[in-house]
Subunit: 507 residues, 2 copies
Amino acid sequence: MQADFKELNDRIAEIDDLNRIQSLLYWDLQTYMPPNGSEARSSQISVLSRLVHERVTSEQIGKKLEDLRPLVSQMDSNSSEARAFVKIDSAYSKLTRIPVEWVSEFSRLTTRAHKFWAQAKAENNFELFRPYLENILEMRRAYSGFFTPYEHIYDPLLDDYEPGMKTSDIKEVFGFLRVRQVELVQAISKCPQVDDSFLYQDFDEKAQWDFGLEVIRKLGFDANNGRQDKSPHPFTTRVGAGDVRITTRFDPGFLNSALFATLHECGHALHSLGLAPEFVQTIFGARIGPGSGGASMALNESQSRLIENLVGRSYQFWQYYYPRLKDYFPAQFQEVSLEDFYKGINQVKPSLIRVEADEGTYNLHIMLRMELEIKLLEGTLAVKDLPAAWSEGMHDYLGLVPPNDSQGVLQDVHWSAGSFGYFPTYALGNLVSAQIWEKILQDLPDINDQIRQASFEELLGWLREKIHRHGTKYTAQELLISLTGSSIDPNPYIDYLTKKYKQIYRF
Amino acid sequence: MQADFKELNDRIAEIDDLNRIQSLLYWDLQTYMPPNGSEARSSQISVLSRLVHERVTSEQIGKKLEDLRPLVSQMDSNSSEARAFVKIDSAYSKLTRIPVEWVSEFSRLTTRAHKFWAQAKAENNFELFRPYLENILEMRRAYSGFFTPYEHIYDPLLDDYEPGMKTSDIKEVFGFLRVRQVELVQAISKCPQVDDSFLYQDFDEKAQWDFGLEVIRKLGFDANNGRQDKSPHPFTTRVGAGDVRITTRFDPGFLNSALFATLHECGHALHSLGLAPEFVQTIFGARIGPGSGGASMALNESQSRLIENLVGRSYQFWQYYYPRLKDYFPAQFQEVSLEDFYKGINQVKPSLIRVEADEGTYNLHIMLRMELEIKLLEGTLAVKDLPAAWSEGMHDYLGLVPPNDSQGVLQDVHWSAGSFGYFPTYALGNLVSAQIWEKILQDLPDINDQIRQASFEELLGWLREKIHRHGTKYTAQELLISLTGSSIDPNPYIDYLTKKYKQIYRF
């Protein structure tokens, strides 16, 4: 039996190798690839996608699973072997439902769609993107069809990113969250606005880079195990166990852009680097099928949000780092007190662009997207009517109407990549980050004092031990329940925001 | 039949995609990969090597070749189809002789050997590397054994890099070349030495980078189709048809190091980028099996040497570029005339390190290596006696004895990679570059005037039309004979050197 498990794992390791290579192909595409490399790159990515799909769904894996099934049924279902078996089995039975032709065609379609989305966004012309989005939507409907029966057509898509969660679960969470979050934004809107104009000054790129690097080094992102580069859209990718890469971008006229992206991606990188060595190149660390490493996208996102917001937008963090920041930008912050700086980086103000949204309004952007995605999939909204529905929804959720589609429905890359079902995990990640933070405050009562001294070892140790090291061994729900006693719960996040904003806005 | 050819070519295209991905894995390894990424990377490279080997030697390709063979035998043997068939057929029959276990083990062995070679070189301790080199040599003997009968045990190795050439051919060429080249070095050694001390000053890295980039842009290496990065050992790699990358390195105290490496790699890149669009992802452009793209390594090397030396160390080139170089480094060259600069960069002086050798002595370094490789393979020299044989040979060829093994037998990476049979192609490349240059002087009689004005369009156009566009459609010998009427001939190179050095050293 050990030999069978080993053989199964050797196949997983090989698939992991191919997926990590794929990660490097994407990383390079976004960072260093010359413009005319794109045709060869999309061919390379498509070949590798097919090889991976063929391998994950190979008869040899199916056979090995059938050989092991009776043995596993007699094992402790919590043993690592049994859990590994279940994970591989469910990935296999999920992916074998997807025809390889669908995989190839979807890869080709989304590669082309990305190009037309970028052009549509640049030229503010939704019509350029519309036919591609229509095709993507059709292919996504077909995809859900591979997983009938389902409770809701959105469920199979969601399951790729948030395994085990149903559309109905999220609707329930968001239903509650929306009411509370809108209340909070309204309460803030009645208070005098805090000043953040000092964040919009000239900030030398090199100094921004150096300050960001100083912070993430201290947080525990080590140059031996990863690197940071520039790309248009910040992201984190795991190229290998000791090779996790983040990217950031710079706005020379706005400090937050690079700073919080760097902290966000650092949170992802620390998560990825924390995988237990014994799980490297096993199913608990391997990326198989859609989604990513980590127990779920919401859990992943909780780790980036925790570093970006719970740590990186906290008062105690800036008690240490604001003087350092002033060393890099003495002229810009000469007249700005720590208190004003802290308030400025936490300003709440409804805005058009999701990635620039503050903690108070961010989730509202997500809810709009999920609502539209569901209507599109259900067929109650046609793609041609999407821009109007977007504007209406923005007005509804945030009281704003975008002046054009580039700043509206075309702003995000996700739909061009066919990533329906992904957005909700961003909001869930925010909720989970606050749930985990409550637990950290219990387990490490002096954590705020430690942060005040830029001492992050205990925090990182806790995250590694409780979350990072397990990879996908436990589901996100299992992890969260074992840590906090509860599944995803919006209350801690609302409590955290309310407490923070009451202090800042004095309502 | 068209459908059969298409299917065969689709398989070649897929193999090419996988090989280009492999190129990116190596490029990244040498440029940006963080130190702890090496374990995952060697696993990724090994998986991909196996996949490629399995595909090239697959039964489907064998079957398709057998289906097509009778049809091809009735075709014009010079047609593109027939030539493509022969190339695929010979790659297939060569690679199917190599057991996949040998491929995997050799990949594992050389990955480990590289590490111990690097350590041995750093610590000046040949013994650390010796056992690995012994194993590599044994595996290389076994490799030649897959190709029995052969005229000489070195032939199958040489054939990987210089298809169709025999050890006896090269011995004949080198026998003649050695006598003439030693005569030339001796004649020079009797003349007063030219000064090159001005090349050893402080040269700001950024200014070196900018000057180099200015030159290669003008030569035709376009930022849309490639990029330049830094790496410890300069190299060129083709990641895709519009994505050819070069690397260089900088010595802040020696101008030549980056400058001529940059020109050299630019020559390779222009060659690679010149492939006819209709040959992209066909056997004429694909990399299959050992060696590289291009008709042969000697032909490849002729293209880099032509740019580096025939163009880049010519007087007319510096008539244009020396004033530009002085703009970058005014203080360093204030007192140095164009004539003295030209003489300095062409100084001939026996030295220990191959990659730093001048045109006058370079080939002697190669001859020594080939002589030792042949003895090792024949079994007339044991690995343990290699350092002593090296020192003796250096004395014999160049009148120098290395003070230690790091500057002697351990200096080159090639043997740690198992690349026996590769070195001779460097010297052959020098010879071919001079043969091609003679033809260029006939076809473009005012080429030197054009170079004097940094006008390289006609030169690049000629190289593209006559050489680059053909990829591997013709063998190096065929190309050379059709261009110059002769196979590899050392006379043009000796004539070129003699004329140049007589003018510089006045003998």
